[in-house]
């Protein structure tokens, strides 16, 4: 395994706001990472730090073994597609696509042309006027065609319709298998990308709370479904992550079960289900009230 990113005790404070707080992790070469977390959790700030756009308050960042800050050698190998990227006034889609290849040594023009056709991008549309989905698609095209060894997508599919999102996942996977590289996808729409992700970094309130292989994370909890009494009897004193119920039925999420426990549950007539990444993330990061909870309170 080769480490392409190493972050140690990284913090970024904006006045009293601790946007990123004592974060440490490594990214290995040629994997797809999910950087998950709620809005304002610190995902964009973290990626801005990794790409030298923001300056760290403390801690260390090494990208390909070197600090990325003002380092042309490193930054040429990195592509950061920022959800809130600013473009010069009057820049049209074609200007973005004309200028991007100058900056990325691995740029594949044929691939870019194909993507422009796939996403039906209006080349003469002004970046300020095109729809949010088209704006995102421009970023997707640049991010994929740049073939940067380390590529960050910050909320890449904001506003993309279902067809375009599917297109993004398909093209990303196809191209990734032909040209392996390290990709970090940041998002709060987790279920849709869940299958793409090999490893998950979950950030909440500036802190890294999960750094785990996606499969391990999915297996870390089980939902037990059945008659209320049978479920309660099985659960006993186990820690309950989540509880749902309807009439005499109950659905309870508990931490990982051993094989014996699974057999016992089935013998008791209970059904065992997986837990989606999204559900897990919701449970792990809902310590503070969500919009929904606030409204229903």
């Amino acid at each position: 395994m080769t480490t392409v990113v190493e972050v140690r005790d990284l913090s970024k404070h904006f006045g009293p706001v601790r946007a990123v707080e004592s974060v440490s992790f490594r990214l290995e070469e040629n994997r797809i990472y999910g950087l998950l977390g709620r809005n304002g959790a610190g995902k964009t700030t973290l990626m801005s730090l990794l790409t030298g756009q923001e300056f760290a308050s403390s801690g260390r960042i090494e990208i390909f073994g070197e600090s990325p800050v003002e380092n042309a050698r490193v930054l040429e190998q990195v592509c950061f597609i920022k959800e809130s990227q600013k473009y010069p006034d009057d820049f049209k889609v074609k200007h973005v696509l004309r200028t991007a290849p100058w900056f990325f040594p691995n740029w594949d023009q044929d691939f870019a042309d194909q993507l422009v056709t796939d996403f039906r991008l209006p080349l003469d549309g002004r970046m300020k006027k095109i729809s949010r989905g088209q704006f995102s698609a421009v970023g997707v095209v640049v991010g994929l065609a740049s073939r940067a060894p380390l590529t960050f997508f910050d909320e890449p599919y904001l506003g993309l319709d279902a067809v375009a999102r599917q297109l993004f996942y398909d093209r990303l996977l196809e191209d990734y298998s032909e040209h392996p590289r390290t990709i970090v996808l940041s998002t709060h729409l987790i279920d849709e990308v869940s299958d793409l992700l090999e490893h998950v970094l979950l950030i909440d309130d500036g802190r890294l709370i999960v750094d785990q292989a996606a499969d391990d994370l999915r297996g870390s909890a089980t939902t037990v479904v059945g008659g209320r009494e049978a479920v309660e009897a099985f659960i006993g004193t186990r820690e309950v992550l989540h509880r749902d119920g309807l009439g005499g039925l109950a659905s309870v999420t508990v931490a990982r079960l051993s094989d014996t426990e699974r057999q016992a549950a089935r013998a008791a007539g209970l059904e065992l289900g997986g837990v989606s990444l999204q559900q897990l993330v919701v449970r792990l990061t809902s310590g503070t009230p969500t919009d929904f909870e606030e409204k229903s309170a």
Binding site: Q53, F64, A72, K86, P88, T99, W102
Partner: protein, 259 residues
């Protein structure tokens, strides 16, 4: 530890290539930076031409009057707006193009240097255009109407063409430089920083005015500028431009793109 860190990545592409990319990025949409100002300049020229025609038909045609009107027209400031426009170009470049350049993986240093080269080149281009048109204006006796837009009093009408080219060049450079520093302050310190900067600048200027008044040195002040002439006056802007350019560079070194 089973992991190993990658050996250093391939060396960066050479500096001229990286600066060239920044320059090309500034000029990628030539409409804003070149075509629009040229079109507006052309339009202003047309309007001026019509005015000259009206003046010519409405005034007596004896040589003295014609020469008098012609001299008066040399005080026209019709070509001056381009300087302000270029200052705005510089401000926008610092704000938005900076953001995109960093998004494309450029370093702040490369962006700063590439931008400086771009602005030097644009200043030279505009100065050549202005001086060239002034020569045409003079050769055609004011486009046949005794008009003056480029053969303007403000670039030193009795100076040699070389000096006038220099004057126009450093004037453009000055406006690019102050646009650079305004833009850089905005990107780094946002609107509040810009307001504080202008307040401080106003205080300094008022202080200087007060100083000149109290010490009764306005006469000496005027004499100084008369003595150094147009060339000296324009040359004096060079250190100011240099300070503004370097300040812009230093401010940008710790700036982060706006989002």
């Amino acid at each position: 530890m089973t992991t190993s860190t990658l050996p250093a990545v391939a060396t960066a592409r050479p500096l001229p290539r990286r600066l060239g990319n920044v320059i090309r990025l500034h000029l990628a949409n030539p409409f804003t930076i070149l075509v629009t100002p040229l079109m507006v300049l052309g339009l202003i020229f047309l309007i001026n031409w019509v005015i000259w025609l009206l003046v010519r038909t409405a005034t007596p045609t004896d040589p003295d009057t014609v020469a008098d009107v012609s001299t008066g027209l040399q005080y026209s400031g019709a070509s001056m707006w381009t300087f302000v426009y270029m200052m705005v170009v510089a401000i926008m470049a610092m704000n938005l193009t900076f953001s995109l350049a960093l998004g494309f993986g450029s370093t702040r240093r490369d962006f700063s240097l590439g931008t400086a080269v771009t602005f030097l080149g644009l200043s030279a281009g505009w100065a050549l255009l202005y001086t060239g048109l002034a020569m045409v204006e003079k050769a055609t006796n004011g486009w046949g109407l005794g008009g003056a837009m480029f053969n303007s009093f403000y670039f030193g009408i009795d100076e040699s063409w070389g000096v006038r080219l220099f004057n126009a060049f450093v004037a453009f450079l000055f406006f690019f430089a102050i646009g650079t520093v305004f833009g850089a302050i905005y990107v780094r310190f946002r609107a509040r920083g810009l307001i504080l900067f202008f307040l401080a600048l106003a205080l300094v200027l008022i202080g200087l005015v007060a100083l000149a008044t109290v010490t009764a040195s306005w006469g000496a002040f005027a004499e100084f500028f008369v003595a150094i002439g147009w060339f000296g006056g324009y040359a004096l802007s060079l250190p100011l431009s240099l300070v503004a350019g370097v300040a812009g560079h230093l401010i940008l070194r710790r700036a982060t793109p706006r989002s």
